[in-house]
């Protein structure tokens, strides 16, 4: 597909009645937001990501996807920050159910990276394929068309090659793009991953890729996989973390952690939520809302009589051992897709890769069966 056809792809998706959301330039960073024309894409932007640091520059290049994972994931579009889940009005001695489902827009998630595809697959497994189905999530997910993009240049905090979730998209998309940009040549390789994707392709003006194109794409893929910002040894993580519940590193990280929740909220696979109830002043109406929560809040572990995880140590340990260890026992896969957002966006500069290495690399092995954190 020629570069000029990219705008056409966005048009076609919109003509199909879809709202396109994808990477946009906002507030000195790349965020996820509405895209109406290709001019909304952050063309020529390059990001620098390190622990607690994100800087964006425009290098004047014509490259459309010259950056790595955006600040936000697509999570808010499929698992919104807040949603009303029930509403009642008092009538006589009983109640009338006043809740109605909001109409859900048909979305096209545009420019989804391999890590975020894997994250969506994890949320699908948990929220759709478990014993309880999250109906709101199901409706939102079913409304999504996904245009993925293969990464050419991983970011400074990316480690998807370690978690085997990237940098190339292998599943979970309707269409996938590979940007081919070198020496005056600017084209896209576009492949369909579903019947819906094939149908969209029919509306586009395409040409067969040349052998050079295919070769270039292959080399770009290999280069991306070889230039990860970080590397994590994921071997035997569940055992490692389960064997070290009393490791001194938990105290060390607790002294640095703000328990501010940023890591969990930017994480594309964290799905914890809490319930808040509201009433009208006269007590005749009541609503129940679900909103994002985090294992770093005190209320999150509140059970009858008090909270279970009071210290920062217990909270940080919960997050790390769940995401990288017990998640596997619970859901059958690693809870982390290596996107690096929790490293970039932790304002304290705490790096999960380093924390895990610190535990793996030490001789200590401390486990206690009964632990009151």
């Amino acid at each position: 597909m020629e570069r000029a056809e990219l705008g056409h792809l966005i048009d076609v998706l919109q003509r199909e009645g879809r709202e396109v959301v994808g990477p946009i330039f906002r507030n000195q960073a790349i965020d996820i937001g509405p895209i109406t024309t290709e001019a909304d894409l952050p063309i020529g932007c390059v990001d620098e990501q390190e622990r607690a640091t994100y800087r964006l520059t425009r290098n004047g290049s014509a490259r459309v996807f010259g950056f790595s994972e955006p600040a936000a994931s697509f999570k808010p579009y499929i698992f919104p920050q807040r949603q009303r889940i029930a509403a009642f009005r008092r009538e006589g001695r009983g109640f009338v159910d006043e809740h109605h489902e909001e109409p859900i827009p048909r979305l096209a998630l545009f420019g989804v990276r391999a890590c975020d595809l894997a994250a969506i697959a994890i949320l699908d497994r948990i929220l759709l394929e478990g014993p309880y189905v999250d109906e709101s999530y199901r409706r939102r997910r079913e409304s999504c068309f996904i245009v993925a993009v293969n990464c050419a240049q991983p970011g400074g905090t990316c480690f998807c090659a370690s978690t085997q979730t990237g940098p190339n998209c292998t599943f979970g998309y309707d269409l996938v793009l590979t940007e081919l940009h070198a020496k005056g040549n600017h084209r896209f390789l576009i492949e369909a991953g579903s019947p819906d994707g094939l149908e969209i392709l029919e509306h586009l003006e395409l040409s067969e890729p040349t052998d050079d194109d295919i070769d270039f794409a292959r080399r770009q893929r290999e280069h991306a996989a070889d230039s990860m910002g970080r590397e994590m040894n994921v071997h035997g993580l569940t055992e490692l973390l389960n064997d070290n519940t009393q490791h001194s590193r938990w105290d060390d990280v607790a002294s640095r952690c703000f328990n501010c929740t940023n890591c969990t909220l930017v994480c594309p696979t964290c799905f914890c939520a809490t319930i808040e109830d509201t009433t009208s002043f006269d007590g005749k109406q009541a609503e129940r809302w679900k909103r994002w929560d985090s294992c770093f809040t005190l209320d999150h572990s509140y059970v009858h009589g008090g909270a279970v995880r009071v210290s920062s140590r217990a909270r940080y340990r919960q997050w790390l051992t769940h995401k990288f260890g017990t998640w596997k026992e619970q859901f059958g896969m690693l809870g982390c897709v290596g996107c690096g957002r929790c490293i970039t966006w932790c304002p304290a500069g705490i790096d999960v890769v380093e924390e895990i290495e610190a535990i793996r690399g030490s001789d200590e092995k401390v486990r206690e069966e009964v632990d009151h954190g």
Binding site: R26, N27, Q28, A29, D31, A52, T53, Y54, R55, L56, A71, A72, P76, Q81, R82, S255, R256, C257, F258, N259, C260, T261, N262, L265, V266, E276, D277, T278, T279, S280, F281, D282, G283, R291, W292, D293, S294, F296, T297, L298, D299, V310, S311, S312, T344, W345, P347, A348, G349
Partner: protein, 258 residues
């Protein structure tokens, strides 16, 4: 029909801003007035109805011996006491005097210091009486004020989480100004309640709502120092509207001694 609960608003050392937040609830004020009998509210009306009161909202800190007496009378007449704002909850901006010699301050500020009779410290209401609930903020957020009155009327727990401003920042879909712009921000150690107002306008959080539960300002100081924030600026960050509040106070005192 049950008699409407009697609501009283009381003022101590403060700027009236928090009381005004109640008047500022234009759209909801009628619903409030419908649900409660406003028995004492100096900012709104001079009429005072005698106690006892079902709900007393207390604004301001204790700075005089007279006020230290008065607050006990209010407690005796009130079934429930809710403090509103940073002054009532932590001593307010005027608690800056707690870090200095107050007689020196009086001599510097007043032409006739002999007419001034004040306590050495500005203290929160909870230092003097039992407080049922504390509403944070300088000023308070009117939505939160409505929520706490509403919850009181309906006998339920107010939805008033003690988590960080960061969580609200992410609920708003904001970008982190500390990470993306290098702007110092107190959000990670500050109690939510404002809806992450400042970060939503690309400013760092000023800590108007005081320390969050389990706040770790020590770690934040280390990080801010790495970002190049100097000692004086750090002291100013922790010493504002909630200077005397537990973790903020301890951290500023620690920095001072360093």
């Amino acid at each position: 029909m049950k008699a409407k609960p009697k609501l009283a608003v009381w003022k101590f050392a403060s700027c009236d801003g928090c009381q005004l937040s109640l008047l500022d609830c234009e759209d909801e004020l009628l619903a409030v007035a419908d649900a409660v009998h406003i028995a004492n509210f100096p900012e709104a009306s001079r009429a005072v109805v005698k106690g006892p009161y079902d709900l007393s909202l207390v604004e301001g800190s204790i700075t005089t011996a007279h006020d230290a007496e008065r607050i006990h009378k209010i407690r005796r007449q009130s079934k429930t006491v809710i403090t509103i704002g940073a002054c009532a909850t932590s001593g307010g901006i005027q608690a800056l005097k707690n870090f200095a010699d107050h007689t020196d301050l009086i001599r510097t500020v007043y032409a006739h210091p002999e007419y001034i009779s004040t306590l050495p410290n500005s203290t929160p209401i909870s230092d003097h009486i039992f407080v049922d609930y504390e509403l944070r903020g300088c000023p308070i957020n009117k939505e939160q004020l409505l929520e706490v009155v509403n919850a009181f009327l309906n006998g339920r727990k107010p939805a008033m989480p003690e988590h960080s401003v960061c969580l609200d920042c992410k609920l708003q879909g904001n970008l982190c100004v500390m990470v993306a712009h290098g702007t110092p921000c107190l959000g990670p150690v500050t109690h939510a309640g404002c809806g992450a107002l400042c970060p939503s306008y690309n400013r760092g959080c000023y800590g108007c709502f005081g320390p969050k539960e389990n706040a770790n300002p020590r770690a934040l100081t280390v990080h801010l120092q790495e970002m190049g924030v100097q000692r004086d600026e750090l002291l100013r960050l922790y010493r504002s509207f909630n200077a005397y509040h537990s973790e903020f106070r301890k951290e500023s005192e620690r920095i001072e001694q360093e």
